[in-house]
Structure formats: structure tokens, C-alpha cells
Symmetry: C2
Subunit: 158 residues, 2 copies
């Protein structure tokens, strides 16, 4: 998206209310460092409380609080599991709504690799079937890829 | 990205260190609700302190703190401006590094519209030249669009 004169004018003519903007709503739900890191773990397939806690070095109370919110918001499912001889515990798996955050996380992943890391990342997002590297892009509904700088924001006529 | 057995195995065999993952690094820099909302304003073309404060109803100290961090992290540029008869003030414009967050914000915007809003969003991201609606997707380097569910995470051979 560009902050062109065009989008500026649109925004200033008719400011977009918080509750009308999916981005603002998304920020309310996942705009938190721990929450994003928990989702990163989920996408890496790390779903058990203790494993997430140890990977993130997260305080228990914070982790518990964020996991509860993610379950309440329908992004993670809390699933019981039990290993032999141990008491039953919970793991936290992505719901369909949670998995649908994949592109947003992938875009943040690319941005971090491009702008913050100083050396090539050891992690790559690839097509499972072919192993080909993937990148996030913007496209029209008919599948034409468009540079993000060519995008702008428009208020829909109602 | 999928949390398939394959990616799980990869993650468990060789856990990906925080500092090796662009997503974790990105979370450290922009994983904060106010920060994301400030970036949303910047993409809408709202760059002046007072305008951002009023749109977000943000406490001054928090807004000031987050703007300072965004400038320090090279995501916003602090630019002086002066209106006639008034003292000089600052506005905060996206740098190239900041503009490059466009796809991540667009992906969050789409997700919020799909999963949190109950009615169609009045805001649309379109191609400036044609007015065609855009969506975020994953693609191979040679421009073939791939469903996010077909993506997985791989550790690069070194």
C-alpha cells in the first residue's frame, strides 16, 4: 500500500473508523509480541505448553494469559493429550482461522529477514510438493502479480 | 505455512533459534498493538502527531514512545514541518523499510476482514492504475501462485 496523495485524500475526506478496518481489528487480537511468537511456534509445529515456554523463555503467567486469549479468539484449539504414566496436559493447535494467519506471518518473516537479519536466514518457506522457495506478493483476482508499491487504498462505494 | 508432520519434524530436529528467524526479529520490532496501529495510520497517509493521536485516541506518552522506537528502528522518518503562524512540528513518514511492511499489513487487514468483521469492509486495497481489487498470496519466484496450505518450512542446507 502506498501513502500516495490519493490514499491520503481518501483517508482525510472520510477517516476510516477503527471498527471498519480489518487491520485495526487484527491488531486488537494479535498485536502483541508474545502472541505473535506463540503463533510462530504453532506454525513451526510446537504446540505443547512446556515446549513453547522453553523455546520462547516466556514467563508462565504471560504464556498462559496469551494462550487463553488465543483460544477465546478462536485462533488456537486447546486439546488434551496424555503420555503414559503422566497426568493429562494440553496442547494448542491452530484452528482454520489461525492457519489463515499464515500469509501475514510469512510476510513478517520475509520483512525481518530482509531488513533486520544481517545474514541469510537458515529457514525458508517452500512449496511442500516441489521444494520451490515461496514469497508473499499481491495479486489481482485473476492471478496477475502486482508490485506492492502499485497498490493503494480505496473506500468502497456503498 | 502448514504445521505438517514435515515442518514439525524439522522444527524438533533442529529448533530454530530466535535470532535466526526473521519473524521473531520482526515481532521484537513491530509486535505491539500501538505500533501496528501507528503503521496503519502511516499507510493511510496520516503522519502528523496530533492527527494520529486523535485517530487512535492514544495516550501522548505511549504514542511518543512508539514513534521514537519506530524512528530508531528506521521504519519512520521524523520530518519537521511548519504551518504559518505556528511553531514547527514533526510528522512521521514511512521509510523504504517501513513501506516494505505493506504486504504484512495488507495480509493482516484481509485476515481481520475475513474473520473478525461481520460485514464487508468499506476499505479496499486496489491496484492504483486499474482500480482492481488486490489480495495477498504466496508465489514461486517464477510467478506461479500457490495456496498457503501448500507451503511448508524448511531448514536451508548450509
Amino acid at each position: 500500500m502506498s501513502n500516495s496523495a490519493r490514499s491520503t485524500a481518501a483517508a482525510r475526506q472520510a477517516p476510516v473508523a477503527r471498527e471498519a478496518c480489518g487491520l485495526a481489528l487484527a491488531c486488537d487480537v494479535i498485536g502483541d509480541r508474545w502472541t505473535l511468537l506463540i503463533l510462530r511456534e504453532a506454525f513451526y509445529g510446537v504446540t505443547r505448553f512446556e515446549a513453547v515456554r522453553s523455546d520462547l523463555d516466556a514467563p508462565r503467567a504471560i504464556l498462559s494469559d496469551r494462550l487463553t486469549a488465543l483460544v477465546q479468539n478462536g485462533i488456537l484449539d486447546r486439546v488434551r493429550y496424555q503420555e503414559e504414566g503422566a497426568r493429562s496436559r494440553h496442547e494448542y493447535k491452530l484452528t482454520a482461522k489461525g492457519r489463515d494467519l499464515g500469509l501475514a506471518l510469512m510476510a513478517l518473516f520475509e520483512w525481518g529477514n530482509r531488513h533486520i537479519r544481517s545474514e541469510p536466514s537458515p529457514v525458508q518457506v517452500v512449496e511442500a510438493a516441489t521444494g520451490k522457495a515461496l514469497r508473499v506478493c499481491a495479486a489481482t483476482r485473476d492471478g496477475r502479480i502486482v508490485e506492492p508499491s502499485a497498490a493503494t487504498i480505496r473506500l468502497r462505494r456503498t
